[in-house]
C-alpha cells in the first residue's frame, strides 16, 4: 500500500501533517469536504499576536504540498480495519488502503443564534467574530455601520456555558477579542470599544503584552461581567445589559455594533464517523486522546492519530506544533509496523 497515510481534513492541521509526512518519505492523502484547503484560517484576516496576515501562513503550503494527493469536495463513506492498516472508501467511490489515518477534522464555530438573548439574526447590528473577520477581508457587511461611535465585544458566547451544551473554555476568544478590538480601534479611532468578559485567559506568548497594548495604547474598556440581554433602541442601536461585577452595579450601554465571540465547539459531523469506527468521544464531543499529557495525538485504536482542534480548542501555533508531532508519531508507527 505504498505507505499511504489518509488525512481527514484540509485545514492547517491536515496540511501541516501532510507536509511533514511527505518530507518523512510517506505518502499522505488529504480528504477535504470543502472545495478549498485552508479551513477556518482561510476565513481569517490577520492572526494574533504578531498580526501577520492569515494568507502568509497558508500560502507556503501550496508549494510544500506539491505532489500530495488532495481530494477536495470529498467525504469518508466508510472505514474498515484491515489486518494491517485501514481500508477507506470515499464518497466518490474510490477506495484506498492506508497504513494509518490522521483525523484533522477541526471544529465548528458555535451558532450564535442559539443564544437568542444576544439577538444575533434578530437585531441589525449584531455580528460574530467570524463575520467581523470577513468584514476585515472584504469591507462588505451591512451590519457594520460606517462610523460607529461605540462597539462592544461579548466574550464566551457558547463556551463555558452549560445551556449552550459546551462547558469547555474555547481558549482563543479572549485573545481574538483583544485582537479584533484593536483592529476596530484602528479602523475607527474615535469609537469607544467595550469588552465584556467573565475571565480573561491570556496564556500564550505575547498575549499579555497584547492585552497591555489594548489597555494602554488603544484605551479599550474591559468590563468584568457577562452580558445577559441585548435589546434594540428606537433609533436602531443595540443596548446591552450586564453587571459590572467589580463595581457591583448593573451597567447598560448603547452600541452601534456588537460582536459576539462565538466559541470553538466540537464538529458534530465527527459523531457519525466516531460511531462507525467505535472511537469514543469525550463528554464535550471532541475526540478522546489516549491521554491528555503525552499521547494527545494518539487514539486508543491502533493506527489512528489526531492533529489539531478535533481533540479540543487550540490556537494556530498550537495546531501547527501538534500536526508536526502527529506526523512524527505516524512515521514511527509506520516504521515499527513494517
Amino acid at each position: 500500500m505504498k505507505n499511504n497515510i489518509l488525512i481527514i481534513g484540509g485545514g492547517i492541521a491536515g496540511m501541516e501533517t501532510a507536509r511533514q509526512l511527505k518530507q518523512l518519505g510517506l505518502n499522505p492523502i488529504i480528504v477535504e469536504k470543502n472545495f478549498a484547503l485552508g479551513g477556518h484560517v482561510s476565513q481569517w484576516n490577520r492572526l494574533f499576536p504578531d498580526m501577520i496576515p492569515a494568507k502568509e501562513v497558508l500560502d507556503p503550503y501550496e508549494d510544500s504540498l506539491e505532489g500530495v494527493e488532495i481530494l477536495l469536495g470529498t467525504e469518508i463513506a466508510s472505514i474498515n480495519r484491515l489486518q494491517k492498516g485501514w481500508s477507506v472508501t470515499l464518497s466518490t467511490g474510490k477506495n484506498y488502503s492506508c497504513k494509518a489515518v490522521v483525523f484533522a477534522t477541526g471544529f465548528r464555530l458555535f451558532e450564535a443564534e442559539k443564544k437568542e438573548e444576544y439577538g444575533y439574526g434578530i437585531y441589525d447590528h449584531v455580528i460574530t467574530n467570524s463575520d467581523l473577520e470577513n468584514w476585515f477581508n472584504t469591507k462588505l457587511d451591512e451590519r457594520v455601520p460606517e462610523k460607529p461611535q461605540a462597539v462592544g465585544f461579548i466574550h464566551c458566547v457558547g463556551s463555558r456555558d452549560i445551556k449552550a451544551g459546551n462547558t469547555q473554555c474555547s481558549k482563543v476568544c479572549c485573545i481574538t477579542a483583544i485582537k479584533q478590538a484593536i483592529e476596530i480601534k484602528e479602523a475607527f479611532p474615535n469609537a469607544e470599544v467595550y469588552c465584556f468578559y467573565m475571565d480573561l485567559r491570556l496564556f500564550g506568548k505575547k498575549y499579555e503584552d497584547f492585552y497591555i497594548k489594548a489597555q494602554r495604547d488603544y484605551g479599550i474598556h474591559f468590563i468584568r461581567g457577562r452580558v445577559s440581554e441585548v435589546s434594540e433602541t428606537i433609533d436602531g442601536r443595540v443596548q446591552v445589559k450586564a453587571e459590572d461585577t467589580l463595581a457591583g452595579k448593573p451597567v447598560k450601554v448603547r452600541l452601534d455594533l456588537l460582536v459576539l465571540m462565538s466559541g470553538i465547539v466540537c464538529n458534530r459531523e465527527n459523531e457519525g464517523l466516531a460511531k462507525a469506527m467505535e472511537m469514543p468521544l469525550d463528554e464535550d464531543g471532541f475526540f478522546r486522546s489516549r491521554n491528555n499529557v503525552n499521547a494527545i495525538t494518539e487514539a486508543d485504536r491502533e493506527g489512528i492519530f489526531y492533529a489539531g482542534t478535533c481533540t479540543g480548542p487550540k490556537t494556530v501555533p498550537e495546531t501547527i506544533a501538534e500536526a508536526r508531532s502527529a506526523a512524527l508519531c505516524v512515521y514511527n508507527y509506520v516504521k515499527n509496523n513494517k
Binding site: E116, E117, I162, G165, S231
Partner: protein, 604 residues
Amino acid sequence: MTERLVTGFHPFVIPFVAGMFFVLGYCLYGIIRILVELPRADRQKFLLSLITPKTVWKNIKDIFLNCLIHVKLWKRNKVLGFMHSSIAFGWFMLIVLGHIEVMLFLPERTRFFYYPIFFNFFVAEGENTIQGAVLFFLMDLFLLVILCGITLAVIKRFRSLLFGMRRTTKPSFLDRIGLYALWLIFPLRLLSESFTAHISGGSFLTIPMNWLFRQFLGNDLNFLPTWWAYSIVLSIFLFVLPFTRYMHIPAEMMLIPLRNAGLKIKHPRKGFARVQFYSCPGCGVCIDACPMSVRKENQKDCTVYLNRQLRRNNESRIEEISDKCLMCGKCTTVCQVQVDGPHIRQAQRALRSYSINPHYTQVSVDEHLSKIGKGKVLYFAGCMTHLTPGIKKAVGEVLDRAGVSWTMMDPDGGLCCGRPMLLAGRKEPARAMMRINKEIILASGCDILLLSCPICYRVFKENYNLPGITVMHHSVFFNELIKANLLKVDKDAEMKLAYHDPCELGRGCGIYDQPRELVSAAGTLVEAAQNREASICCGGSLGSLSLSYEKRRDITLNSIKNLKAGNPDAIVTACPLCQTTFKNYSDIPVLDISQVILKENKKG
C-alpha cells in the same frame, strides 16, 4: 320463597356485620371531620350546594358516571374501563338486586342489612320460582360480569403492559391484603351460592355448578364453610379498606360534591385536600403521564406517590415530591378522579415559613407609568420574553402591520407577574407584586392586556381582577386579527409545523384551538404523538423548585421526540420558556407562533 332459619340469623354473618359497622362508622367520622376542617365559608358553600337542585343533580350524575360506570376511563382505555365498571357497577347491581329480592320475598327482613348480601343462604325455593327467575338470572349475570372484571384485574396485576400501562404502582402491604380480599370475594360468592343453589334456587351459573359439585361432593358439608369464608373475606376487605387505596371509593363520593360546590384547596392537609388525597385510587396512570417519569429515579415523584405519602404523613418525602414537580398538570387530566396534584403540591409549598420575606415597596408606579405610551392594547412581555428578543420583536411587528394601537408595559423590564412566586407557595409576596402590576395596568387606560407568555397569561386571567380589561394571549389575539381581516397570512403548505401546547396555555387555560388555527394559517400543522391535553411538558417549567438543569435534559429530549413524530420542519410553540428550553437541544428550528405569523405575512 320461604325462610330456612326461623331466627333469620346465623353466626357466620357476624364478621361481615362487624366489618360493615366499622366502615360505616369510619366514613361517618370522616365526613364529620372533613366538614369540621373546612373553612366556615367553604362549609356553608358546600352545604348550600347540597340543597341546590342543579348541583344535586350534577352530583348524582357525576357519581353515577364516574364512580360506577367510569366513563372517563372508558374514553381512555376500553379494557381498563370495562374492568373497572364491571366490578363497580356489577357490585352495585348485586347490592341493589339483593335488596329488591328481600323487599319482594321477605319484606319483614329488610331491617337486617346483611340479608340482601347472604339472601341465598337464608331462603329455600318455594312454588313461586318463576317470580324469582328473572332476579336470579340477573344476579348470576352481574356476578359473571364482576368475575370477568376480576379476571382482567388479576391479569393486569401481572401483565400491566397488556392494558397499555407501562408503569404501575407497587401496592403497600395492606393494599395487597385488600386486593387479594377483593379478588376472593366474588369467586367465594359464586361458590357459596352454587353450593346452596339446590335449596335456594339459582340461575345459569349457579345451578350447573351446583349440579357439578354434587357429582363428587354428595353432601352439604361444604355449604357452611364457604359462606363463612365469603363473610370473612368481605369482613377483611371492609376492615382494611380505610387504610388502603380502596378508601378512594367512599372518598370520591365526597370529592365530587365538594368539587361541584366550587371549593378550592386552602389547607395543605385538611378538608378538601384530605378528600383529594384519599380519593386517589392508586391506579398509577399518572406515572406514565408524568413527564419526569422518563427518568427512572423520578418515577416515584408523581401524584400517586404524593397522595400515598400524604396519607402516611411522611414529611420529608412530601416536601421532596412537592418541590420537584413541574406543575404541568398532566396527572390531573389523565386521573379518573381528577385529583388536583399541582394544587395539592402548591399548598404543601405554602406550609413553609421563611425568615426573609420579600417586599417591593421601593417600586414606583409613577416611574413605570412614565415609560408607558398610549395605546388600546397594552403588551406585557414579561420576564421570559425579555430573554427571547425574537418573540418580543415579532409581536411588535405583527401588531404594527395589523395597525393595532399598542404600547409596551415593560419596555425597560417591569415587575414579574407573580405566578412563579405563587407556584412556590409564597402568596404574600406574589400578591404584593400583583397589586403593583394591577395599579399600573388600570392607570394605563388600555382595553386589552396582551401577553406573549402563558405563565403571565394564566395568572392575569386567574388571579388578577382587572375590570373592563380583556386579558389575551397573543395566539388568541392574532387569530382574531386574522378573522377581522386586519392581518393577512399566506399559507406555505410545504412547511410542516408541529405545535407544542405549553402546559400553562393548554391544560392551564384550555386554549388549544386558536394556536392551531394560527399555525394552520401559516403552514401545514402536523400533530405531535401526544398533543393537546396529553402534551408533554418541555421540562423548563418554573413550577419545579428543585429539579436541576441537567436532570431536565431527558424530559426535554422526550418532549422533542414526541413533537417530531410527524416529521415537522420546525417546532412551533407559544411560550418563551418552552422555546428557550427546546432550543438548547432541538436539531430543528423552534419558533414562536408570532415569528411564524410574521414570516408568512412578509410574503403578502
